[in-house]
């Protein structure tokens, strides 16, 4: 029973408490780019979830085999393999979605959520918890995308999943489906998530906690003071 609870916890933490998009602020690029419509958001979320589950499972299985020094290139290769598979599946069965997602579908490879979970979770845990973690994070990602996609589609195009919701009463505000609307809605959602979690947003940095490169990055921005000092010296 205890074990089952543990597995459920791995799944549920990704949805709200550690939501990858709104709490950990990972994977911002696809979040902003594909959420112009709710249906694109679902498609992107599903594709990323599939890659996340598969890569988490494989990386967890190989965690004792991959040498520590080359782990990032090894992870990227595994992830890129699964992304290519998903790309082919989407091209074959949902060409309209392929058209809508365009370049952002292959760019799942460099989505920090996937590499971040590989580094933070799958490389340290057994297969089953890793799969549950991947599923939870994927569902959390999809929920956040769906929320953002719905807001932007309803406000910007006056439709939801392509169904007209304005009834001709109000004029939709096109700016919400354009680039500025993406930044704006995302900013407000992060603020709301911070408010609900009762935390101060100030300490939050863009995905640094979950970023696989944070060790190297700490030499740059997270310790920007040092850089500035070195620059002066």
């Amino acid at each position: 029973m205890k074990k089952k609870n543990g597995l459920f916890h791995e799944f549920s933490k990704g949805i709200i408490k550690e939501n990858p998009v709104l709490r950990l602020v990972l994977g911002t690029c696809p979040t902003l780019a594909v959420t112009t419509a709710a249906s694109n958001a679902i498609g992107m979320g599903a594709a990323a979830t599939l890659v996340l589950i598969c890569s988490n499972a494989v990386i967890s299985l190989l965690r004792n085999v991959i040498p520590d020094k080359v782990r990032i290139p090894a992870y990227i290769t595994i992830i890129a393999g699964f992304v290519s598979m998903v790309q082919m599946i989407v091209k074959a069965f949902a060409p309209a979605l392929d058209e809508a997602l365009g370049i952002y579908l292959p760019l799942i490879v460099v989505n920090c959520i996937i590499l971040g979970r590989a580094e933070m979770f799958a490389s340290k845990n057994k297969v089953l918890p890793s799969i549950m973690d991947g599923l939870g994070m994927g569902v959390g990602f999809t929920c956040a995308l769906l929320l953002m996609g719905s807001i932007r589609e309803i406000l910007g195009a006056g439709t939801w999943f392509g169904i007209d919701v304005t009834f001709g009463v109000v004029e939709p505000m096109l700016i919400f489906v354009l680039a500025p609307g993406g930044f704006f809605v995302f900013g407000l959602l992060v603020a709301l998530a911070n408010k609900l979690a009762g935390e101060d947003g100030e300490k939050q940095t863009a995905g640094c906690g979950g970023c696989p490169m944070k060790d190297k990055c700490s030499k740059t921005e997270c310790a920007s003071k040092e850089v500035a000092d070195n620059g002066n010296a």
């Binding site: 990227i76 370049i103 292959p106 930044f183 900013g187």
Partner: protein, 204 residues
């Protein structure tokens, strides 16, 4: 002359109308993470521009002379990310050994660039563009990569200035930090919407 004109059009479009950060949402992580200080913003975007041009220079011939003749186009994603990862390593080693001054300026940013979606994005987008327009060649691809890098730098530098101002403002508690940064980015993106159609108009 016609060629030069189209190159200039591609270059300006890459910087202004197709700005990678503000219009295409590529490379948002470094945009939010490294734009707090002007010198880090410039260093990071210089490194990104450098890697963008070099990786486009390498991946384009590989796509057209290795992958296409062997009907291996579906391996594009895997091959590209590995090439970029290897290239970044190579550049790092090369600079460290032969151009230490450049290494000191860009070195710390290089490892971060492997997983930057703007670099993978530009190498793939130029292939998509070449498939759409027949006259789009290797030179266009390189100019596009360089322009995209400069556009990246433009957005980073402008935003570093905006963030400097934000530091001194009295912001509501839950908007502090990331949310207000995103809202400021949204306003910057509005100003870039104004460039829509400018480049087409210039060369019409």
């Amino acid at each position: 002359m016609e060629m030069l004109k189209s190159l200039v059009a591609v270059f300006l479009a890459a910087i202004l109308t197709e700005n990678y950060i503000l219009c295409k949402f590529l490379g948002i992580c470094p945009f939010l993470g490294v734009s707090k200080k002007l010198n880090t913003a410039v260093g990071m975007s210089a490194a990104v521009t450098f890697v963008m041009v070099l990786s486009t220079a390498v991946t384009w011939p590989i796509y057209y002379y290795v992958l296409v003749p062997n009907e291996l186009e579906y391996l594009q994603t895997v091959v590209y990310i590995l090439i970029i990862a290897a290239l970044v390593q190579l550049i790092e080693i090369f600079l460290k050994k032969f151009v230490p001054s450049l290494y000191n300026a860009l070195g710390i940013y290089l490892p971060l660039i492997t997983t930057n979606c703007a670099v993978l994005g530009v190498t793939m987008l130029v292939i998509t563009k070449a498939e759409e327009t027949a006259s789009y060649g290797y030179a266009h691809a390189l100019v596009n990569a360089f322009g995209s890098g400069l556009g990246f730098m433009l957005a980073m530098v402008l935003f570093a200035g905006v963030r400097g101002r934000l530091e001194t403002c009295d912001i509501p508690k839950s908007l502090r930090g990331l949310p207000i940064t995103l809202i400021a980015a949204s306003l910057l993106a509005v100003s870039f919407l104004g460039f829509q159609g400018v480049v087409d108009g210039l060369f019409a």
